[in-house]
């Protein structure tokens, strides 16, 4: 056993500006082991991994590889030791070929030139190792689909003497069958003796792929379980401590019975949606489930006026006829949308929490010609309390909050105005378990207060756990409609149904 021990980190400490982020954390890894590293946002996972990959230096503690102590002072040190990190966001060069993307860090040279033949041969070899024999190294990266680009990134990480691969939320935007493909690749690498550290918020994936689960909480070790001998409850408990109840709030007796606040007929988006009809009811959570590419991801934003080339036969909002034009008009009609890509479409990172909260509702905070900052500040303080947002205060720049807390602000900003329908796209993507529970509770509470909620999610469990009624999309059309809560397996099988030709 001892001779298999590849990596051993012990007593690792790190503080930022006097705030301890890691306290005596230990972490070890055997050759060919897949270890899931779990923890709520802010638990210290990323800090620990950044220390391992040389992006941060530790304050105290020891790191040993193959039993002998090593110093990792820079990313270059980590690379030389065979430690590779797959970033959360894609980092590709869309206009270069696959081979160039794989070899970018270590281009083989012939004199002053790039040795194109050697580069392609090496890339082909790496792709083969990952089971991607069909992919030509000369393909332009930008023409590949998202998950294939992901796999090319893994090939890049495997170049050289890779021994440890750190994957941070690798499935964040992959559909179910693409996740399977990724898992196949992980198993291949594992068989070669490469160790994987797998960071994810999706427990189902963690249980499917990992051999061991390591949990951090508040910068300390909070659990180390053999995956085969533990269950979701035990792991969840370790992640959130004794804060857990049920992840999803109970369904309300009254919901599902409200009148229609949105009716849509014949919603069409070129290349995405083909004549979709649906309704949203007052006081009810209406779920929309579909895999990536099913068109589900376009339903909310096209209704909101954020997608060009949207056509619609007829629609009403709050009983009045509604035509799709711009997000500004949608807001005036009483719609609000929390976008899936929070960093890109949700927050304005440089502005403060207070400013992000009020920005979509300026008329509420305007007195005469000027902004009423006091009212903004008291409103922000109130929402920080109501949604238990973890922030230093209203003046903290929103970019420095954790994902879950940013999402709470994105949610809160629509609750200020005179809203009748709230569209939520992937409301808990990249959000830790603790904050997820809080967000789910808030969504239910909003529905109970009479808001119509359209919940769009590629996570079937989320739709099953939350929606009073739901529709499932595949291939741009509705494949199934449920007028009452349903279970995840029904949703998943409806989502993978081949679409009926229109």
């Amino acid at each position: 056993m001892a001779d298999k021990r590849l990596l051993d980190m012990s007593g690792v400490r790190k503080s930022f500006g006097g705030v301890p982020v890691l306290v005596d954390v230990g972490f070890h890894l055997d050759a060919g082991e897949v270890v899931a590293l779990l923890g709520a946002n802010g638990a210290g996972k990323s800090t620990l991994m950044k220390i391992l990959s040389g992006n941060y230096t530790r304050d105290a503690g020891a790191i040993a590889i193959d039993g002998s102590p090593v110093e990792i002072r820079s990313p270059a040190d980590a690379l030389a030791l065979g430690i590779r990190m797959l970033p959360q966001e894609l980092s590709i060069f869309p206009d270069m070929t696959v081979a160039e993307n794989i070899m970018i860090g270590a281009m083989p040279r012939k004199g002053l030139h790039v040795d194109a033949a050697a580069m392609e041969a090496r890339a082909t070899q790496l792709l083969k190792r990952l089971g991607l024999d069909w992919l030509s190294p000369r393909t332009r990266m930008g023409t590949l689909s998202h998950h294939v680009q992901r796999i090319v990134e893994i090939a890049r990480a495997m170049n050289g003497n890779a021994r440890v691969l750190i994957m941070d939320e690798p499935t964040a935007s992959l559909a179910a069958e693409e996740v399977q493909l990724l898992f196949d690749i992980i198993r291949r690498l594992q068989a070669e003796g490469i160790s994987i550290i797998y960071i994810s918020h999706y427990l189902k994936e963690v249980f499917a792929i990992s051999g061991r689960v390591v949990v951090l909480r508040d910068g300390r070790n909070a659990g180390d379980f053999a995956t085969a001998r533990t269950d979701v409850d035990e792991v969840l408990h370790a992640i959130v401590g004794n804060r857990v109840g049920d992840l999803y709030p109970a369904f309300s007796a009254s919901s599902g019975a409200g009148d229609d606040v949105v009716t849509v007929e014949g919603l069409t988006v070129e290349g995405w949606l083909r004549g979709v009809d649906f309704t949203v009811r007052r006081g009810t959570i209406t779920g929309v489930h579909g895999l990536i590419g099913s068109g589900a991801e376009m339903i909310g934003r096209s209704l909101f006026g954020a997608v060009p080339r949207t056509k619609i036969a007829s629609a009403t909002v709050g009983g009045k006829p509604y035509t799709i034009t711009t997000p500004g008009r949608a807001v005036e009609a009483g719609l609000g949308l929390v976008a899936a890509e929070r960093k890109r479409e949700g927050i304005i990172a440089m502005l403060t929490l207070r400013e992000n909260l009020s920005i979509a509702n300026m008329p509420l905070f305007t007195r005469g010609m000027t902004v009423d900052r006091e009212k903004e500040a008291t409103t922000a303080a109130e929402w920080i309390r109501r949604l238990s947002i973890r922030a230093r205060g209203p003046e903290q720049p929103i970019g420095t909050l954790s994902g879950g807390n940013q999402q709470k602000v994105c949610l809160a900003r629509w609750l200020l105005g005179d809203l009748s329908v709230l569209i939520l796209e992937e409301p808990t993507r990249g959000v830790d378990v603790g904050a997820r529970q809080e967000i789910y509770r808030q969504i239910r509470q909003l529905a109970d207060q009479g808001l119509g909620i359209l919940l769009i999610s590629s996570d079937a469990e989320e739709v099953a756990g939350l929606a009073d009624r739901s529709i499932v999309l595949a291939g741009g059309v509705v494949t199934e409609t449920y007028e009452q809560p349903t279970d995840a397996s029904a949703l998943m099988s409806a989502a993978s149904k081949p679409a009926v030709a229109a």
Partner: protein
């Protein structure tokens, strides 16, 4: 035991001091304070080197000479913060003077002529805005293009010749004084105050920061990003026209190429003032201080008989230094 307690107390103190200085550096106005300190040091150096520097007359002349540049930089600041850029502003100033002179020469009332120049400036701004927003073209390319067109047109209209423009009421704008303060300086300060007020206190000001900070998110929130930028392009065009009128009034003549060469100073002042070229961050007071610093540098070096060729070198060095320091400051917060 007691020793242990002492250590942690000392540690704690060190931590809070470090944190406090970090918080101080991270304060939105820290950049402006840094500029102010830099300006005071610069002024102190020139005061010791030249007895003439620290006289009311000299300080006022710095302000008055920089007024037209400050005016364009003031209007350019919110535009860049909102994610736009106007390289044509100095060229607009050039054609504006020419338009006033030519209208006046053709018997049109001088104030009506000024009005025509302002309308043309606003129109060019609207054109820049329509091209960047409507066709989704890069503002650098669009305004580089319009800059070239306008500069060329000014030369075509005048045949490259300077147009005399001497009429008493009009020249007062350039050389008049109110309580000893030159009119151009006062106009510039009023514009700065107005733009500061809009940016800091009105909903439109919020839209400026939001539009540049994250245009996609802003659109998803129903913020009128395009309209915000359009208005700011028009304001920038207007500022160019007004700057051109002031320069023509100061010189008593309209030279087609009189302002164009100052474009780099305008952009340099905005960047030196801490405004991010990528949008979302900046303040108009930083720009004002930067204008003062650049003006003082010019003036001081002239007083010290340094060749004007060296002045461009100094200007560039100061700009790089300041931007480098600001980058260090922003990075120290993370």
């Amino acid at each position: 035991m007691s020793q242990h307690v002492n250590t942690t107390a000392a540690e704690h103190k060190a931590i809070t001091t470090a944190q406090r200085s970090r918080n101080l550096l991270g304060h939105p106005y820290a950049g402006v304070v840094m500029l102010l300190v830099f300006y005071l040091i610069l002024a102190a150096v020139f005061t010791t080197l030249s007895p003439y520097f620290l006289t009311f007359k000299n300080l006022v002349s710095i302000g008055s000479n920089m007024a037209f540049i400050g005016l364009m930089a003031a209007a350019g600041t919110p535009l860049i913060i909102a994610g736009g850029l106007d390289l044509s502003v100095a060229a607009v100033a050039g054609i504006s003077g020419v338009v006033v002179a030519m209208c006046y020469a053709n018997g049109i009332d001088i104030w009506v002529s000024c009005g025509i120049a302002l309308v043309i400036g606003a129109g060019i701004g609207a054109g820049n805005g329509a091209l960047t927003n409507g066709l989704r073209l890069n503002p650098f390319i669009v305004t580089l293009g319009t800059m070239s067109i306008i500069t060329g047109l000014s030369l075509v209209l005048t045949g490259g010749l300077t147009q005399p423009l001497l009429t008493e009421g009009f020249n007062w704008i350039g050389s008049g004084k109110i309580y000893g303060m030159p009119v151009p300086l006062l106009i510039m300060l009023v514009i700065f105050l107005l733009i500061w007020w809009v940016m800091a206190f009105t909903p439109f000001g919020r839209f400026i920061y939001a539009s540049g900070g994250n245009p996609e998110a802003s659109r998803m929130l129903g913020i009128p990003v395009d309209r915000t930028q359009m208005i700011l392009y028009v304001v920038s065009g207007l500022s160019g026209a007004l700057a051109g009128i002031i320069v023509a009034a100061m010189l008593g003549a309209a030279a087609p190429d009189s302002v164009g060469k100052h474009l780099l100073t305008v952009i340099a002042a905005i960047i030196l003032g801490g405004t991010s070229l990528f949008g979302g961050r900046g303040s108009v007071w930083g720009t004002l201080l930067a204008v003062l610093i650049l003006g003082t540098l010019n003036n001081g070096l002239t007083l010290l008989n340094v060749s004007s060729f060296w002045q461009d070198v100094t200007k560039g060095t100061v700009l790089l230094l300041a931007v480098g320091l600001d980058q260090l400051r922003v990075r120290s917060q993370n």
